[in-house]
Each structure stands twice: as C-alpha cells, then as structure tokens.
Symmetry: C2
Subunit: 174 residues, 2 copies
C-alpha cells in the first residue's frame, strides 16, 4: 500500500538536498529531499575491510565510515556503489551482494540507502572529489567485532553488523 500527500510546496532547493513541506490530512510534514545513496563493505583477499575517515561538517569532527555516496541521476544502486568505491578508495572488481536496503531517517528524510558487500576487491588508485579529504583505514575482518565501539555512524554500524552475520564463523568477541 502506498500513500501520497494532499499537497506539497518546495521550501528550499539546494545543491544536494532540498526541503519540501507536505500536507497529509490535518498535519504538515517537513521532508528533506534526497536522491538516495549507497554504502559498501569492501573486503580484499587479504581479509581487510576498507573504511574512510573524513571530516563530517554536521558532526564537527572526523568520522570513520564505510565508503558511501549519493546516487547520480538515472544511476542504479549497484552502479553508484561501484563508482563510489573506485573514486573514494581505488577498489575495483570483486563479488557483489546486496546486504540490505533501508531508509536512513524515515521520520523526516527521503534518503533510501542500499548496502552492499563485495569480496575480493583489488586495490588501485583513488580519485576522490575535490572537496573530499579522505583517509583510507583498513581493518582486518577478524577485528571488526572488537572495534565496533569506535564507529559513530549508523550505516557503518548496520553494515558491519550485517556483514559479520554473513560470515561462516563468528569473528572476535561478543
């Protein structure tokens, strides 16, 4: 079953996001428009997962996250994921699998995220966007469980936890 608003007006149109005020029956909802996104748990043959550390301006600090990115117009989620992984981390190839798809903040934002894992990626040269200053961080898959407390990002927590469940044997404590 799908639902639609009775009326909608654009309150702000930005570069990445916009804001729409929708009327639903007797109440209004402020909704952040977003083109959708992907995040990737990328593991190489040495058993390392690649994370990125970067300044997140809304958080006022550098955060450690899964490689991720926003969909370009007309792009399928898997295309976005392959493109972002190569641009941000220089990683290509591998065997892909969709772990989940979810809304990141369904109370107020239309961002839907597809979460992938890819095993057996090959390392090459990254070419991040001009305004991205990324530090690549590698964790052994076997240390993920013990280091989850270092993660302060929702998609990264969900992604690493879902990925751990796909492994034949549990790794690490907990």
């Amino acid at each position: 079953m799908s639902f639609e608003p009775d009326a909608a007006r654009t309150a702000y149109e930005g570069r990445l996001i916009g804001l729409t005020v929708e009327r639903w029956g007797d109440h209004e909802r402020e909704i952040v428009e977003h083109p959708g996104a992907v995040a990737i748990v990328a593991v190489d043959d040495a058993g390392s997962v690649t994370l990125v550390r970067q300044l997140r301006e809304p958080a006022r600090k550098r955060l450690l996250e899964l490689p991720a990115g926003t969909a370009e117009p007309g792009e399928e989620p898997l295309e976005t994921a392959r493109r972002e992984l190569q641009e941000e981390c220089g990683l290509t190839g591998g065997v892909w699998r969709e772990l989940a798809a979810f809304w990141t903040t369904p109370g107020f934002c239309r961002e839907r995220m597809h979460l992938f894992s890819v095993e057996g990626v090959e390392r090459g040269e990254a070419c991040p966007a001009a305004d991205e200053e990324l530090e690549l961080v590698r964790w052994s898959v076997t240390e993920i469980a013990a280091r989850l407390h270092e993660i302060e990002d929702a998609k990264t927590l969900a992604g690493l936890l879902l990925y751990l469940r796909t492994l034949p044997e549990r790794t690490g404590p907990g």
Copy 2:
C-alpha cells in the same frame, strides 16, 4: 579535535528541522539542523521486543521500527527515551543500558541518536501524540534474527543487531 565553519546562514527554519548553509574554506555545505533523537530496544519479561508500525510520509509507506523520538529542549537522552517509550508504547520501568550513540546521516544532518536497550519493561497504556497513528508489534527475541529482512529502517537494523550481540547465547539462524 573539533572543527567549526567559517560562516553560516539559515536557509529555512521549520517546526522540527531547519536548514543551514555553512561555508567551510572554499566549499559550502547544506546541513539539516536536528535536535537529536533516541531509539529503544525494549524487552519485557516474556521475552518480547516491542516495535511500532506507522506511516512514514517520506517513505510513502508504513514502516516497522524501534520506538524512537526526538529530544525536547534541555532533555538528557535517557529522559527522552523513557518519555518516548511510555508515550508511544505504554512501557515503563526496566533496566536500562546505552548500546551506542551515532550520527544517523553525518554527511548532511546534525541528528545524533542515542540507542538504548531496556530489559524487564512493564506494559501500561500508551498515549501517542495526536498526529501519530501507531500500531504496536511484538516480536519474540528468539525470532529477531530470522525476521531482520522485514526491517527497512537503519536505526532499527543497527539496534536489533547490537541488542542480539548483548545476549549470552545467539538466537535464531545466521
């Protein structure tokens, strides 16, 4: 280490959220302002976790989620969590524990979320806000693992997965 923008202007001020355009060096960032939020994995003595199903207007559908809510001014996260759990679900008491704290979408939004678990809650009467139409759904803790694919919300995935890791024995497959 903390970082601050060089300049900021308010582009939109709404009821729940606002939008600020910040200048950081040579680039601008559009940032959704948000007061912060909580989500709760609430388990009763019968071993049931309470979820809520409600229309999420940005998703155009009803979603199954952890009980959650937005901080009131001056409220500590645990206060928000106790209040929301009683209002939305009529659940009180129990032994509380903070499972994690994270940014929900740190690329463009200042929402920081605290995730709690509470064991041994008691059922009473819920009193949701006037514009909330909530259906309470109970899952046995033992069926969470097998039903994760029904979840399409990031905080609920992360919360249930983190909660499962706190249990002395794994429940369900996978």
